[in-house]
Symmetry: C2
Subunit: 102 residues, 2 copies
């Protein structure tokens, strides 16, 4: 059994790292959605459909590979990408139907 | 209407950025789960419960604030964090019950 004060200090140290990583993740996600907003506008302008199953299949395979090599559970990487892509497609549909802000 | 070849080139350029951002996201997520694996082991050793509602409420509020300032949809930030925390708690339960690999 670890003494309580050591456990509390270790927990605080790990949580500080987690909070830093979360801030980085949020900022990267913000930048990713900036890119996909541009993709959405481009697709709407040039008449391309919002979803692209071949691109999505490529992304899922690639992320599973990156997850494997970085020690992330590939099943989790796929769940994460699915969450992001669902949001992107919703945004693309909004742009297509003219209800996007800005 | 944008000429097709320009649209295709713009799409390829944006997708290259998205692929780079996704690689960065996967590596940050891998590092985040390394930290939470340590948290899980620490909690199991010192008898702390796997879930911590006060910590989760703090994280959600903080990420919503970071999302707002970085231009990410705060509702999406919350969905993202919920996905991650659910996975973390599942992993902590596994560690607690001794079925974690390694």
């Amino acid at each position: 059994m670890v003494p309580d004060e050591h456990a509390a200090a270790d927990l605080a140290r790990l949580r500080a790292s987690i909070d830093n990583l979360d801030a980085a993740l949020v900022h990267l996600l913000a930048e990713r959605f900036r890119c996909t907003q541009e993709v959405g506008a481009l697709k709407a302008r040039s008449g391309m459909p919002p979803a692209d199953p071949a691109r999505e299949a490529y992304q899922i395979e690639r992320l599973r590979g990156l997850a494997h090599s970085s020690g992330l559970d590939p099943a989790f990487a796929e769940k994460f990408l699915t969450l992001v892509i669902d949001e992107v497609i919703r945004n693309h549909e909004k742009i297509k139907h003219g209800s996007a802000p800005g």
